[in-house]
């Protein structure tokens, strides 16, 4: 069953703008991860945030986690055409030793 649900399904922005993608999930988690997928390629891990963390940064990426609302957001600042890709959130279970459950993704298009 789908655990993470990304919103919006698709997002189109101009280069230089910020992109925000949201993820909601249903059950308790140990950690939440964000991945990126370029067309025809495998997924690339971006960032992992644990359930006891509220915010995490990596370069132009900022991830927040609100466990009370069972939601997370991924912010990409100063977007570039090369950021065009699909972005997925993935969650594990409370014990952590379970396969990740992926959402359907947000398709981001950054227009130069």
């Amino acid at each position: 069953s789908q655990q993470g649900e990304e919103d919006p399904q698709a997002l189109s922005i101009q280069e230089g703008e910020n992109a925000t993608m949201n993820c909601s999930y249903k059950t308790s988690i140990n950690n939440l991860q964000w991945y990126r997928q370029n067309s025809g390629r495998g997924l690339v891990h971006l960032i992992l945030i644990r359930s006891n963390e509220r915010e995490k940064h990596s370069g132009r990426l900022r991830v927040t986690l609100d466990t009370s609302k069972k939601s997370s957001s991924l912010l990409i600042t100063a977007s570039r055409a090369a950021d065009t890709a699909s972005y997925f959130c993935a969650t594990d279970g409370p014990s952590g030793n379970t396969p990740l459950v992926f959402g359907k993704g947000t398709r981001l298009s950054v227009i130069a």
Binding site: N30, Q33, G42, V44, G96, L100, F102
Partner: protein, 116 residues
């Protein structure tokens, strides 16, 4: 270092044939996962191997699907008597033991399977 390698990258076969997909994980990664991704969709979990433990097969869609992991390294996903609905990209990922802290998964580029 080498990443996760999958072969073949593309496979076209006739309905009813058996296919084998191969995954070479990153050396030292004890966890290995298989996923299926249909066009424009998210990832559907198929099977998970962790060390010497019994695999988690809960995601396999039917008994036509099976997977092995020999020597704790290379894995093969086999689909018997393929059907057109099996057409998808099959992705393999590996990681260090997930544990309580969680681990990032490292993905191969997948095998694009087309059933005619």
């Amino acid at each position: 270092g080498a990443g996760v390698s999958q072969s073949p990258s593309n496979k076209v076969t006739e309905k009813g044939k058996d296919v084998e997909l191969r995954c070479d994980p990153i050396s030292g990664h004890t966890a290995l996962y298989w996923y299926r991704q249909s066009l424009g969709q998210g990832l559907e979990f198929l099977i998970y191997f962790q060390g010497n433990s019994a695999p988690d097969k809960s995601g396999l869609p039917s008994d036509r699907f099976s997977a092995e992991r020999t020597g704790g390294s290379v894995s093969t996903l086999t689909i018997q008597r393929t059907q057109q609905e099996d057409s998808a990209v099959y992705l393999c990922a590996s990681s260090l033991p997930p544990g309580a802290g969680g681990q990032p998964q490292h993905f191969g580029d997948g095998t694009r399977l087309s059933i005619l």
